[in-house]
Symmetry: C2
Subunit: 384 residues, 2 copies
């Protein structure tokens, strides 16, 4: 099987991820920071170590300014619902995933926030100046994806961060696509809140993710519950991460995520970016010469986080992915990718796209086989 | 090491839990229900199988009426925030965990809900008729724990369910303590919403939990995001489980949880209850004869879910647990247990309690060693 659905969940993971999760579960998986006994201390220390790994990875000083979540969607919801108030104006982009769009559209409908959704060019690219032009008196937040989950297009996050900081507007970035192969520095990029999943480019397991919140920014928590701290108080503690982290966290998952990031650090994130891009370039190059193939992704390392999105002739994208899976053993994702305005931008709202999303364990041979499979399907399809 | 902190996280787990999680992660851990390729289908089928296991275990017909969460705290918050509206009155008990109390107190403060907290006798026991007496015209919800996380006292959930159903009030039960050794039947107990963690008595891993919602009860979702369904719609789908389940779920964790429940089913939940109670009885019996030991738990299988809570003389509970850990290698939890009104009820708000919480892998020998350790500490303490 050739797995090219890494934008959904990266697969496989480095062996160390599974092995350390297993060791955690077998040897010390008590409640981190709750018991005070040797196992809960060990679990707590392991979680703290991963907070430190992540704070170094994204370059923030205080590892406690990170709350762990079950995925990026939860992190984004915590940020939006904890930060925004009635009457606030938010600027975002048409390339966002439904994890951003759905909470924002719901808050627009129900909670009196105002929303501007910036549209890009035919690849979804947006000029940072468009953000400046969209600023109103009541603009309190800019929300932007690091790169699109549909076609991989990278947003000018650093430039947008400059606009936000200049205008005194908070900046939330969803790094679901790109974290793990694009270096992210919350200081340099002037990011106030950063939402990430553990199970994609960071090579951790499903069930992990997190939200970084800049020191001094106090969100209203979306959930309340036991924190192991201030137990006598029937209200949530006001300090991080307890403010946003209620109930038992996923210790083995977090341990696995730490190993995933360690692996990236060892490999070198820039090496990983270059390697992934060689594969993107190769696939893009092969596909662009196949008659009938329509390409929606850009072949430039600075504008693509690792996705090649296509259609073939007039074929429905699901039909193509079905054939890739059953006839060629190639796993991709087709249809609509939880990002309706991105599909509008690309002109693919009707039939969706076929998405090849590349991971660091893919090989040149796999890319060539995938390209040959597309050529085969295109050749047997007479609709273009 | 003797582990007696199972009310926090059960430890160890059956081997099959780790092994199947590992197999899932190694062999098929793609996005369940997202890709359409062979791996995502396999992941989706595995998750569906666990929905079915859980629906049988708690006796509800439609496995889709379950949303998976990261822990019970999230499930309780989804239920409370999704169900309650401004002006609603809620009845709950003083034996609730902060996972229930904190969201309710916050909603009382911020969202205009009214709250009645019923106090019990010196063990926390509450007469079901007290719920009936507390009903007001605007009472819409009764929230009750299956048993206390502080002293294990079991609530008369079936009788409370009868009161709720008679009065047309919805009934939410937090089964964090007791699920896995006390048989739960949502039909028989007239439970409308059931919140559970995976990592305690159900023997699954941390990072898992769920909320059952009775057919026809539509909650307002706490989070919105990608569901892999209705992708073109910028609002959340209105059907379960997608309504309440946004973003990638924890496939390996859910697979592990399924194995934990399978293990319980194989062992027999009633056998497990009886075995655990033999250990509770033995520990209770040994401790009650030690001079200076104050017992806060009841020695009756129908009134105790598996906890023996004590103090020794005038000693601080944390001092006792520290000695148990360092000198005797016995892991318990001390202090306040995220349940302030339960401590008020038991008269232990000042120094907390030492909690021995028993799991199905504990042995008679471990119980005897724990009792001997307490006797040693009590003998060397001259404060009583």
């Amino acid at each position: 099987m050739i797995y090219l659905d890494n934008a959904a969940t990266s697969y496989p993971k480095p062996d160390i991820v599974h092995n350390e999760m297993l060791r955690c579960m077998r040897e010390y998986c008590a409640n981190p920071g709750r018991g005070g006994h040797i196992l809960s201390n060990k679990a707590g220390d392991s979680v703290m170590r991963v907070r430190e790994i992540i704070s170094r990875f994204f370059n923030f000083d205080n590892p406690l300014n990170l709350c762990f979540t079950k995925n990026a969607t939860e992190a984004i919801n915590i940020a939006l619902k904890g930060f925004l108030k009635h009457g606030d104006h938010v600027i975002t982009t048409a390339m966002e995933h439904n994890s951003v769009l759905r909470p924002l559209k719901t808050m627009e409908r129900d909670d009196g926030i105002e929303l501007t959704i910036l549209r890009g060019d035919r690849y979804g690219r947006i000029n940072p100046e468009a953000f400046r032009s969209a600023v109103r008196e009541n603009t309190r937040l800019i929300v932007c994806t690091l790169s699109s989950n549909v076609n991989g297009v990278i947003m000018p996050v650093k430039e947008i961060g400059n606009v936000a900081r200049e205008q005194g507007i908070a900046f939330l970035v969803d790094v679901s696509q790109g974290a793990g192969s694009i270096a992210i520095d919350v200081e340099d990029m002037k990011i106030d809140m950063l939402a990430f999943p553990g199970h994609k480019g960071l090579l951790g397991p499903q069930g992990t993710g997190g939200l970084y919140v800049r020191e001094g920014l106090i969100l209203k928590p979306m959930t309340q519950g036991g924190t192991g701290s201030n137990s006598e108080n029937v209200f949530q503690p006001d300090f991080m991460p307890d403010l946003l982290e209620s109930g038992t966290i996923n210790t083995p998952g977090i341990v696995g995520l730490g190993c995933g990031i360690d692996f990236i650090d060892t490999f070198g994130i820039e090496n990983l970016r270059l390697y992934k891009h060689m594969l993107v370039q190769r696939l893009h190059g092969r596909l662009k010469d196949i008659p009938g193939v329509i390409l929606y992704s850009i072949d430039d390392i600075n504008e693509n986080s690792g996705i090649v999105a296509i259609n073939i002739g007039q074929l429905d994208s699901n039909e193509v992915s079905y054939t890739l899976d059953r006839k060629f053993g190639i796993a991709v994702r087709a249809g609509l990718h939880c990002s309706p305005f991105a599909h509008e931008t690309l002109g693919t709202l009707g039939r969706g796209i076929v998405r090849f999303s590349i991971g660091c364990f893919n090989t040149f041979e796999e890319i060539d086989l995938a390209a040959a499979a597309v050529a085969d399907i295109a050749a047997s399809c007479r609709t273009y």
